[in-house]
């Protein structure tokens, strides 16, 4: 089959952005009105930043009435943690940290001894513990349906049982804008207000609203090494294997996860306009090009989601 020179990602009009914005705000307000203890998962990545921005708008002039939660692998980009802490103090909101490092120390989770093993898998039990410790009944997540094919099957309100499991074959039908948030004690709903946004929509909205984002989203010089075709940032958490050389490259990050699984892409895009231009023309998907965690198998995301992952 022929390959196309570029994908055909058209830019949205501001009317379309307003329509996406209204839909997300409607969802956020439903949750705040119907649930007792909502929380918002915040990674410091662009999607959770946009989600937090929308949540603030949904309730303004009131302050955000629920905490944001960071599931922290301990392997963070320092720029992202700095950003997170600034946002928390600026908005005057509560931050709850679910720490993978602490879970390792206490023996709650076991680290893999395999070289290069990341803490990605360990986030799931820590997330589920954080949800049950905080008695959270609604968990806002920034996942989008265009990201990945298991995610394309997600509801806006996604029911999770007492074990945090997602059962894709047995989801509640979701009709009109009538969301069913009824659950029993111990269960929760994952809520995805950005379900209908695409990667490019998110970027255009960031530009439209002039939202600040962590600096690693823009092209910068960084020490990297190439591992299985991905450009990984050199850090204390991830060192090259035998034969992999460290070099300096001008890169930016297209997604933000922890340092051990997030790969950079070569880029010259130093401004929002340039980033949008680059994404509109790219031929590689967001997760395919930059996430080591989705490469393990064809159904990597589906398997993790079933167990309770983001």
């Amino acid at each position: 089959m022929n390959r196309f020179a570029a994908t055909n990602n058209s830019l949205l009009t501001s009317e379309q952005l307003r329509s996406l914005e209204s839909e997300s705000i409607h969802i956020i307000r439903e949750v705040v009105a119907e649930f007792e203890r909502p929380m918002l998962l915040f990674s410091g990545g662009k999607d959770s930043i946009v989600m937090l921005h929308l949540a603030s708008k949904a309730l303004q002039p009131s302050k955000l009435s629920f905490p944001i939660v960071h599931i922290d692998t301990g392997h963070n980009f320092p720029e992202v943690i700095e950003y997170r802490d600034e946002v928390v103090s600026k908005l005057g909101i509560d931050l709850v940290i679910g720490s993978v490092s602490k879970a390792l120390e206490s023996g709650r989770v076991q680290a893999s001894n395999l070289p290069g093993a990341s803490r990605n898998q360990l986030q799931t039990p820590v997330l589920l513990d954080t949800i049950s410790d905080g008695k959270f009944d609604a968990v806002f997540g920034g996942a989008r349906r265009d990201e990945e094919r298991a995610r394309a099957k997600e509801r806006v309100y996604s029911f999770r049982d007492e074990f945090g499991q997602w059962d894709p074959k047995n989801q509640r039908p979701e009709l009109w804008n009538l969301y069913n948030g009824f659950i029993n004690v111990g269960q929760h709903i994952r809520v995805f207000p950005l379900s209908n946004w695409t990667e490019l929509d998110i970027w255009q909205y960031i530009m439209d609203q002039q939202i600040e984002i962590p600096s690693i989203y823009f092209a910068h010089q960084r020490e990297v090494f190439e591992s299985e075709g991905l450009l990984m940032a050199y850090s204390d958490f991830l060192k090259p294997q035998k034969g992999e050389k460290i070099f300096t490259e001008k890169i930016r990050f297209r997604t933000v996860g922890d340092m051990t699984i997030t790969a950079g892409v070569k880029s010259e895009a130093e401004t929002l306009e340039q980033v949008i231009e680059e994404i509109a023309a790219t031929r590689v998907s967001e997760r395919g090009g930059s996430r080591a965690d989705d490469r393990t198998s064809e159904a990597a995301m589906e398997d993790r989601k079933r167990e309770g992952y983001f």
Binding site: M1, S10, K169, W176, L178, N180, F182, S195
Partner: protein, 422 residues
């Protein structure tokens, strides 16, 4: 909806719906290379002779293994003219509820018919569901034309059958396209093998289709979602009513009615996400402030003072039953969610069931099982503030929730569609 178009797709098993969607995404260049690579590798593992376009959309492991679509999935693609959100719904009989789900938010129904089989029960059911849910425009793709030698004399009788069905359903806006999803004929590009078809291929048609945007002319409706009260020193007396405008338009200074009390008041402020505005319209998320002290809470509704909604705790509705585990019986009780309001609902009686084959009503029994559609009489613990679904989808729709399992078991539309019998 502006230039964003929501499409619900439907087809029977093996009609090639996933292949068509794969083709749509592929030819409209909405597929990234690594996603293609992964689908191609899977095709090779299954040792299919041709590259399987359906694999571009089937998301779950069991779907790829069995080659079927299990659950509704959402796809996004855009052309320079429009952004499309496509609900990809499975064709299996037991999953028809997913079609209802996809159709509930759709502007357009895209129904696939196998040219070799013509109009089957599932096609009738899909058209009926689309009509019930008030979809404005229907596109029928007669697929697998390659397997009937691209013959016009195969296509035309199917078109005639569908046309007869659409007349029964009172659907005026429709289009029929002969396609071959597997080869791409009339999907994004015009077919060179069906010169007898002179209209636009599918994507061009979807780009061009227009509806009468009557919704802003409809009476103003805004269910109150949430009352914003900051209770801070600076904003001590602030009280804002947050919600989404479901129909009509409003401006500052305008008189509105607060339902259920029916009291009139004046809009003093309208706030949108990006600040104060002087007017707002359908589908905008807003916060409204009003003159005077009125007791207003979630579940109440702002309305135009001249054309008010109905307030009643007893009404007639068409319900599609969606639970495999239980049936709906006269006398059973459910939770009902309608606009931003929740109550308990009692099924007083099942007036009749609709036969999807001949659209006749049948007075058989007091029970609905999965995929059945019936006309019911319902009573609620508290009065609902509603319009007929025909008049206003947002204030005329509701869901039924099982009180013991919390599952969504029914989709309801208040009133009776004009194409229903009796």
């Amino acid at each position: 909806m502006g230039d964003m178009l929501r499409i619900a797709t439907a087809g029977s098993v093996d009609d090639g719906k996933s292949t068509l969607i794969g083709r749509l995404l592929y030819d409209s260049k909405a597929i990234y290379e690594d996603v293609l690579d992964s689908a191609e590798q899977h095709s090779r593992r299954q040792s299919t002779e041709y590259f399987n376009l359906a694999l571009l959309t089937d998301g779950l492991r069991s779907e790829r293994e069995q080659g079927i679509t299990i659950d509704v999935a959402y796809r996004y693609f855009s052309t320079p003219k429009r952004k499309f959100i496509l609900a990809d719904t499975p064709g299996h009989v037991q999953y028809t509820r997913n079609m209802v789900t996809g159709a509930s938010t759709a502007d357009i129904a895209l129904i696939i018919v196998d040219a070799r089989n013509g109009v089957v029960e599932q096609s009738r059911r899909h058209a009926l569901i689309g009509a019930l849910l008030g979809i404005k425009h229907f596109v029928f793709c007669i697929n697998k034309m390659d397997l009937v030698d691209f013959r016009e004399d195969i296509f035309r009788p199917i078109q005639d059958d569908l046309h007869a069905l659409l007349i029964e359903l009172r659907i005026k806006s429709h289009h029929f396209i002969p396609i071959s999803a597997i080869d791409g004929d009339n999907v994004v590009y015009s077919s060179k093998r069906m010169s007898w078809y002179v209209d636009d291929p599918l994507v061009r048609h979807l780009e061009k289709v227009q509806f009468n945007d009557e919704i802003t002319d409809m009476p103003f409706r805004m269910p109150v979602q949430y009352v914003i009260r900051p209770l801070s020193n600076e904003l001590h007396d602030y009280r804002g009513y947050a919600g989404t405008i479901e129909s009509g338009q409003i401006s500052v200074g305008q008189q509105i009615a607060v339902m259920p009390s029916g009291a009139n008041t004046i809009i003093t402020d309208i706030e949108r996400p990006n600040g104060a505005v002087s007017s707002a319209s359908e589908s905008d998320a807003v916060t409204i402030r009003i003159a005077g002290d009125l007791d207003i809470s979630r579940g109440d509704m702002f309305s135009s003072p001249n054309e008010k909604p109905t307030i009643d705790n007893h009404f007639e509705a068409t319900v599609c039953w969606m639970s495999e585990k239980t049936s709906l019986k006269a006398g059973s009780m459910f939770r009902i969610k309608h606009t931003t309001h929740t109550a308990r609902a009692l099924i007083v009686g099942v007036d009749f069931k609709i036969d999807v084959n001949d659209l006749s009503g049948q007075h058989v029994g007091d029970e609905l099982v999965i995929n059945e559609i019936g006309q019911l009489s319902i009573k609620t613990t508290k009065p609902l503030i509603f319009d007929r679904y025909d008049d206003n989808c947002a204030t005329g729709s509701f869901i039924l929730i099982d009180e013991s399992t919390n599952e969504t078991v029914g989709a309801g539309m208040i009133g009776r569609p004009d194409f229903f019998p009796i």
